[in-house]
């Protein structure tokens, strides 16, 4: 392992130094081979319960997603509960939700990497996988919600027999380009740091796995030059993917913000959506980490309370930021005084579906603010699991409020309408959740879910030094 390291001038005392620093992964090193074997074991061990889940989820994907969608294609969009004037419903809500979730990987992996947040190391890959799979699940929706999905390729810019480019003024085309870019770049960004770990796996497996990893590891040998290039590539990508990430959700927000729909037409939607996406993404990372930690072998070694603690703090900050933007959105709309928009905001809080609005505020603001300030709660994984699930429920409610509830009460009261989701679309939504979980389950047994080399790199940089009688943690800055 090539670590270009130079000692720091002074040792940085860790917070809560009164604890045993060995509680931290970085100060609890294990021999490389032991750690490699732990990761390999976690990857190759499958229980009966695992297969039950895989088969169950595969069936759900087959029936709820493909079956219901196929039926809808053959019968018509009418199977979904959308109607005039609410032409977008659960499909777009869930689309925005998944795109939001997809911000987690990039945020955790790229931004924390750029800012050298050391706690990120064991779960960057878990988060990046979420990005890719959430994008995969989310990217289905622009197809699912098309009235005529069999001509979806008309949205793609390519020289064609129709002599017609797509309309580049349409945010849906921007969407298409942004999501494609993000999916491609985040997949590459997932793959790059994976190469050394794939090589590690290649060297420790036989049979089909060996063949697979040999193919994927691209002949990685671990030479100095390879490490050098990998590091350069990762750094470039880490910086490059951040603007892509910001652009994706900004563009998704423009789907709404560029419309004349009262309640959508707001300049704050870009940052508001980004913050919401990061909030829901980081929350989803916590939920996933809890599941990984409690179901996979050796994961409790890699994923520790300190990680829940650190992510909990981040969540609190993002919850506050989200509340700030939410307030801003309301304040400006209220101050702007457009009758239709004001009526919508009032109806959100007092109308028949006001419970969705309150659910959003309770889950996104009240619960995080009441709990996440508390260190004990932050360090209780199951509590964090519940809180983060609720945050995502709240974020789903936010999108539901913004889309169908806003569309239903526009400028002509005669044509107002209440949207009720119908079984087909609920089934498809469940189907994509199952698809996401299924992909994740399969991936967890196919690729090393912990970036071993990154953990080892970190552990090599962190040492405990004896200063007099005290053991002082010290960190070597990398690069």
């Amino acid at each position: 392992m090539a670590v270009e390291a130079k000692p720091l001038e002074t040792a940085v005392p860790l917070p809560h130094a009164e604890e045993d620093p060995r509680e931290h992964l970085m100060f609890d090193p294990r021999p490389r081979e032991v750690m490699n074997r732990m990761v390999m074991e976690a990857m190759t061990t499958t229980s009966r319960r695992y297969w039950a889940w895989v088969i169950g989820l595969a069936l759900v994907v087959l029936v709820c997603l493909l079956g219901a969608w196929g039926n809808m294609i053959l019968t018509g969009m009418g199977l979904a509960g959308i109607r005039r004037p609410v032409f977008w419903g659960l499909f777009i809500v869930t689309f925005v939700f998944w795109i939001g979730i997809s911000h987690a990987g990039t945020f955790v992996s790229a931004i924390l990497r750029v800012f050298k947040a050391e706690f990120r190391r064991p779960f960057t890959r878990a988060a990046e996988l979420m990005t890719t799979f959430a994008l995969a699940a989310g990217a289905l929706y622009p197809l699912i919600h098309l009235g005529r999905v069999w001509v979806f390729y008309w949205l793609i810019p390519y020289p064609n027999a129709r002599w017609l480019w797509p309309n580049f003024r349409s945010p849906l085309v921007w969407d298409f380009l942004a999501i494609t870019t993000y999916l491609l770049s985040s997949t590459i960004y997932l793959y790059l740091p994976l190469v050394p770990d794939l090589a590690m796996a290649r060297d420790r497996t036989t049979g089909w796995r060996h063949a697979l990893y040999r193919l994927l590891a691209l002949g990685w040998r671990g030479t100095e030059a390879e490490w050098h290039r990998l590091r350069r590539a990762i750094t470039i990508f880490a910086f490059a993917i951040i603007p892509v990430m910001f652009s994706v959700h900004t563009i998704v927000s423009w789907d709404f913000a560029v419309g004349v729909v009262a309640g959508w037409h707001s300049t704050i939607f870009g940052p508001y959506f980004i913050i919401g996406a990061i909030l829901s993404g980081v929350a989803a990372v916590v939920s996933i980490l809890f599941v990984l930690r409690s179901t996979m072998l050796h994961m409790d070694y890699f994923i520790r309370k300190e990680h829940f603690d650190a992510l909990g703090k981040l969540l609190l900050v993002f919850s506050m930021a989200w509340a700030y933007f939410f307030f801003n959105d309301y304040l400006l709309t209220w101050y702007g005084g457009e009758e239709a928009a004001r009526r919508i905001l009032t109806l959100h809080a007092t109308g028949p579906a006001a419970w969705v609005w309150y659910l959003m505020l309770i889950c996104n603001v009240v619960i995080p603010w009441l709990t996440l300030w508390n260190r004990t709660i932050r360090r209780t994984p199951w509590a964090m699991f519940i809180i983060t699930l609720l945050i995502n429920v709240g974020m789903y409610a936010e999108r539901y409020t913004i889309i169908p509830l806003t569309l239903g009460h526009q400028r002509m009261p005669f044509d107002w309408g209440v949207y009720t989701p119908r079984p087909t679309e609920i089934s498809i939504v469940i189907g994509t959740f199952a698809l996401f979980l299924l992909l994740y389950l399969l991936a967890s047994r196919l690729i090393p879910l912990v970036p071993v080399w990154e953990v080892q790199e970190g552990q090599m940089a962190h040492t405990l030094r004896k200063v007099g009688k005290a053991e002082v943690p010290s960190v070597t800055e990398l690069e």
């Binding site: 028949p352 009460h409 002509m412 009261p413 005669f414 044509d415 107002w416 209440v418």
Partner: protein, 714 residues
């Protein structure tokens, strides 16, 4: 009858009246039969991709609007108004625009048929037309006094033929009935005109030029007499004259579309219209400095105010508005006539017009050119009694669906079962058709020849022509032809006509040089112009002026309305765009939102929101409306524009037959209407009271409006 039309191959010529083609030069005899050929040998007027237009007459209601049907490759596509037609001047209403959904309706009766009426288990069987004609011929040989004809209000040429037939046979004259006419009190109006002006005709009101119009119950924008004419006139009344905007004041217990468009809606007690008119007449006469006619003294203004619930000062204001107007006009119809005082109201309103001197004046009252046939319920009642007593051996039914349209309290269904032979010429399997012995389906109106001569909306003498625009789709046959063939087959020389076209040509023969906007030296040339223009009318407007010799000393006895008992309500029914209910099988008429409530595809009962609140009723609660004559169930619509003591149910739904789009929707208010009639013999149901019981069920109405948006309810 001649073999020419007994062959299926020979069908009625559809081409004669093409409004756009050069074929129409009037240059010679035109065959009335056409061979159905493949379209590879298309006649020259019918090119692929080119539309051919035919002028005809709408038969969806009795008004007789002129239509132009666009056809292509032998299919009727869209129906447009005939721009030259004096009734509608190119305009059409929703009913007329859906006529092709009747023509191409999948539920039409496709061939003559015998049904085992006595035993439902007996399968019916299809007949040939030869057999059918034989059945009719045999039926016509029954003792004449035991033959009865029940016809609808359209078409007129069939009525004329049957009148001649019954006269030749010595049978009672044909009877006409139509629910739309019954609901608008047409018979009462005709009778009032007869009593005051001497001839049984429908009045024509020059609404377009009126300045202040009082309308008593006449829903002229939706159903009354000739809605397209009067809607057109309404538009002109409002904005036709740049210098003044006509004012409209409507008196009725439930706000109809007309009252909704009025400047003022006066919700008086149902049944008190006569009192209001008489009181108004007194004050108007006084304000105009005229002697108050004796007949108007029948009621004191205080009494009228008390009976109608209209405060005296408002009555005074209205009288002043009317009396001081330059061109005042008073209309009457609908709920003001279909009540025990109806004939008094009708005469009083006509006399009110006479009082302000607008008879024959612009913005005043005229008489229609053609005599009108009344449709009295009293005579239907007499027929039912005869049927019940076994005095009718054979009943012919055409163009009317008595089991649906006649109040059930009359007992038509039971009486029908006692008639040994019922022959129905219905085009659709309606309620009555299913209870008939023989179905001899007539062509649909778009496949038929014919005419309408009683045109309530025409401002000049006019006859409106019908012609086939497509070859008949099915094995149907014109009823006139069937009757003529049967008359011939019965061996007696009853009628001197060869076939339907011959009959029509002989009937319109007097018109060929009667001062129309076209004339012709002989009938065949005239006939081609007649078909080309969709009828005949005079070039200039002009109608007979009614002359009032002398007002009677009294218009009749006045019965003040009895207030409903505790917990009971006045019940009324009205015609909306579904008319007499025969349009209920047009899917687009079902899909069309009701103008006032925006409800589609169903029936509802209108209740004032305050009353509903008192009764604890919410929208869409199913309630049972019970009168002494029966009960129906419908969902509640909280209607802000109805008297709190009144309930209203629209007419036209509640079919148990009539095809897939009509069956099993809503309720038929004819089930709860009384069988009583007023002095003119017209149905009198205003003043009927009903009780209302919640059923505890809910059935949401398909309304187009958003309840949340319009009423602020969630």
């Amino acid at each position: 009858m001649s073999e020419k039309i007994s062959r299926r191959d020979f069908l009625k010529l559809t081409a004669m009246g093409a409004a756009t083609t050069a074929v129409m030069t009037g240059c010679g005899p035109m065959s009335r039969y056409v061979v159905r050929r493949p379209y590879t040998q298309m006649p020259e007027y019918n090119q692929t991709g080119e539309s051919t237009y035919y002028a005809s007459t709408c038969r969806e209601c009795p008004a007789g609007c002129g239509i132009i049907v666009r056809t292509r490759e032998g299919r009727a596509l869209t129906i447009e108004g005939n721009p030259n037609h004096p009734v509608n001047r190119g305009r059409l209403c929703a009913r007329g625009l859906t006529a092709q959904q009747g023509l191409y309706n999948p539920d039409r009766i496709r061939a003559p048929r015998f049904q085992g009426r006595s035993n439902p288990a007996t399968p019916g069987r299809d007949l040939t037309w030869d057999e059918a004609v034989q059945v009719v011929a045999t039926a016509l040989q029954k003792p004449p006094q035991r033959i009865a004809f029940l016809l609808g209000l359209a078409p007129d040429h069939l009525y004329d033929l049957v009148s001649e037939l019954t006269q030749a046979l010595g049978a009672p004259p044909p009877l006409r009935y139509n629910a739309l006419a019954a609901l608008e009190g047409r018979t009462t109006l005709i009778e009032a005109v007869r009593r005051l002006f001497g001839s049984p005709a429908l009045p024509y009101f020059d609404l377009a030029q009126a300045e202040v119009t009082l309308a008593f119950g006449a829903d002229f924008l939706q159903s009354w007499l000739s809605p397209v004419t009067y809607t057109r006139a309404y538009g002109a009344m409002r904005q036709g004259n740049p210098r003044r905007r006509g004012e409209l004041i409507v008196f009725e217990p439930r706000q109809s579309l007309t009252a909704g468009n009025a400047d003022r809606w006066v919700p008086i007690v149902p049944g008190s219209e006569a009192h209001v008119v008489l009181a108004l007449g007194q004050r108007v006469a006084e304000l105009r400095g005229l002697p108050v006619p004796e007949a108007f003294r029948a009621v004191r203004p205080e009494e009228a105010a008390q009976v109608s619930g209209l405060p005296l000062e408002q009555l005074e204001t209205l009288a002043q508005t009317f009396a001081t107007a330059t061109r005042p006009l008073a209309l009457v119809g609908g709920s003001a006539l279909t009540q025990p005082n109806g004939l008094v109201t009708a005469q009083a309103v006509l006399a009110l017009n006479a009082l302000v001197g607008n008879l024959g004046q612009p913005g005043g009252v005229f008489l229609s050119a053609a005599a009108a046939t009344p449709t009295p319920l009293a005579e239907v009642k007499a027929l039912v009694e005869r049927m019940q007593a076994g005095e009718v051996d054979v009943l012919f039914i055409h163009g009317v669906n008595p089991l649906f349209e006649v109040p059930a309290a009359l007992g038509f269904e039971a009486a029908l079962a006692r008639v040994p032979l019922v022959i129905n010429f219905a085009a659709f399997p309606d309620e009555t058709a299913l209870k008939s012995d023989y179905l001899f389906p007539d062509h649909s109106p778009l496949e038929s020849f014919g005419y309408q001569r009683s045109l309530a909306g025409s401002d000049r003498p006019a006859w409106s022509a019908l012609q086939p625009v497509v070859v008949p789709l099915y094995d149907t046959r014109a009823t006139v032809d069937v009757l003529l063939a049967a008359a011939q087959a019965s061996g007696q020389a009853l009628l001197p006509y060869r076939d339907e076209v011959d009959f029509i040509q002989q009937k319109i023969l007097p018109l060929i040089n009667a001062g129309g906007f076209y004339t012709a030296p002989e009938i065949l040339t005239f006939w081609s112009r007649w078909l080309q223009h969709g009828g005949w009318w005079t070039p200039a407007a002009g109608l007979p002026t009614p002359t009032l010799e002398r007002l009677p000393a009294s218009f009749g006895t006045l019965t003040p309305p009895t207030p409903p008992a505790e917990g009971a309500f006045y019940l009324l029914t009205y015609a909306n765009h579904l008319g007499d209910g025969s349009g209920a099988n047009r899917p687009w008429l079902q899909e069309l939102p009701d103008a006032m409530t925006t409800v589609t595809w169903n029936s509802w009962v209108e209740i004032h929101p305050r009353t509903a609140e008192e009764l604890g009723l919410k929208d869409d609660d199913v309630v049972r409306i019970t009168t002494p004559y029966g009960s129906v169930e419908a969902s509640v619509y909280r209607y802000p524009a109805i008297r709190p003591d009144t309930l209203a149910i629209p007419f036209g739904q509640g079919h148990t037959a009539l095809g897939r789009w009509a069956e099993g929707r809503g309720c038929n208010p004819a089930q709860v209407l009384p069988a009583g009639h007023n002095a003119a013999g017209d149905l009198a149901f205003i003043g009927t009271t009903a009780t209302l019981t919640p059923t505890g069920r809910r059935r949401p109405l398909a309304r187009v409006e958003s309840k949340e948006g319009v009423y602020g309810e969630h």
